[in-house]
């Protein structure tokens, strides 16, 4: 029985090949990225580039070199936000942004550098597309949209938003969507897309990065050695080196490549997830926080109970049933304010492809019994 439902925080388990690949790299392969020319370095470097190619394929872009590795999506988002010329500009955000977006934006806003505005949205947080035409995008430097909410799992119509944004830069936070949803960066016309390797892609933590359609628009966040243009103190202009100062997380990227190459067949369907959500909603005292339209429901959702707090529920689920979940604000206070679940937050249910329909039934049975436990 798989009782780990905290895959929105980090995925577990991983494909077994992830640990095997990391072990192989650490014990046999070795080698750095692009700093010498002997075979060990060549193989490590080629492996990193194979991973970049695999990510490009996974995210629907023909421009793999426009993908830069970072330590996580937060660093990727910071690179974009702090790398764009935003002084004196307006920044529009969805109401469901994570603090990975809100904190770097707030840092700029509190120093008077930018003004933050929220896009019009429905009660579940989905952007109200019809209302976008009323927005004045003049003097707007950036639009930021969380592709799949880490609180209620709603999926934003990013392709439509990209069309509306036109020439205004659009940053999509794909932390929760990549690995769970098909991504078509080129087709959708996304300017910047941040991703992490350790959630939906089932790779190790410490991996992530971003795609930039026009990387020349960004000033690098981190400066340092790249193994290229070493005679200059300036960062190289070409990608991916422009955004990859220092030795990359080769060990982690090795594991991420293995995850991409050995991604499991999902053991439950989207219909199973919707069935679980509906069944919980029928239980006395429970409220389910998800998309109003099931088509816009992603791979996770939240619940609350009229009597038990999220922390009570999380504690009891773990102590009595061994179920591991995350409670609280999920680093997304803006989302909870919009949804109406602030300040207590919610209890998040985030399955992975490894959960079977029996695992989901076990969770439902546990929640059924939970409300009778004192």
């Amino acid at each position: 029985m798989n009782r780990y439902f905290d895959n929105g925080s980090t995925s577990f388990p991983k494909p077994s090949q992830v640990a095997d690949a990391i072990h192989h790299y650490l014990t046999h392969m070795g080698g750095t990225y692009g700093r010498s020319a002997y075979q060990r370095v060549y193989e490590a470097t080629a492996m990193v580039e194979t991973c970049r190619d695999a990510l490009a394929h996974r995210m629907g872009t023909a421009r793999a070199e426009n993908i830069a590795f970072c330590s996580n999506a937060t660093m990727a988002i910071n690179t974009v936000i702090k790398g764009l010329p935003l002084t004196g500009k307006r920044v529009w955000v969805s109401p469901l942004e994570h603090n990975a977006v809100m904190r770097p934006l707030w840092e700029l806003a509190k120093h008077g550098i930018i003004n933050i505005h929220t896009l019009p949205a429905w009660p579940d947080g989905t952007i109200n597309i019809n209302a976008l035409s009323n927005i004045d995008l003049s003097n707007t430097g950036l639009i930021v949209v969380n592709h799949q909410s880490n609180v209620n799992g709603i999926i934003q119509p990013v392709e439509t938003i990209a069309q509306w944004a036109g020439k205004v830069p659009l940053l999509v936070d794909g932390s929760q969507s990549v690995g769970h949803l098909p991504i078509h960066l080129d087709q959708w016309g996304i300017d910047y897309f941040a991703f992490t390797g350790h959630k939906g892609l089932l790779g190790p933590s410490g991996t992530g990065g971003f795609f930039a359609k026009h990387p020349e628009t960004l000033v690098p966040l981190i400066h340092g050695g790249t193994g290229s243009r070493s005679d200059s103190y300036d960062m190289p202009l070409d990608v991916p080196d422009r955004f990859q100062a220092g030795t990359p997380n080769i060990t982690g990227i090795c594991g991420l490549l293995a995850a991409l190459q050995h991604f499991p067949q999902p053991r439950h369907t989207h219909a199973d997830l919707l069935h679980l959500m509906n069944a919980i909603a029928q239980l006395p005292g429970y409220k389910v926080w998800g998309a109003n339209n099931p088509i816009e429901q992603g791979a996770l959702f939240s619940i609350t109970h009229h009597r038990m707090t999220p922390s009570d529920m999380a504690d009891k689920l773990y102590r009595h049933f061994g179920i591991e979940v995350r409670q609280g604000l999920h680093c997304a206070p803006a989302a909870h304010r919009h949804l109406g679940s602030f300040p207590n937050g919610t209890l998040r249910i985030a399955p992975s492809p490894y959960h079977t329909s029996d695992d989901l039934e076990f969770l439902l049975k546990s929640l059924t019994e939970l409300s009778s436990i004192q």
Binding site: G34, R229, V239, D241
Partner: protein, 71 residues
Amino acid sequence: MHRTILTFQNTRNVIKADQLLAHHGIRARIIPVPEHISSECGMCIETTPENTLAIQSLLTENHVQFTIQQW
């Protein structure tokens, strides 16, 4: 003239070029970048002069930017 060296803007392009050359059966080897042609600390590709035209065509066709150094 007895050495032909291909240099690249970055390591990714070295790997892409080497894989393309190998796929098309063009003999080449990865070597450290000689100091007198660049201050790089990474890798470049050495091949033979008779391969130059084929390599130019192949890499240009695949949008891999490079520079040929011969001496």
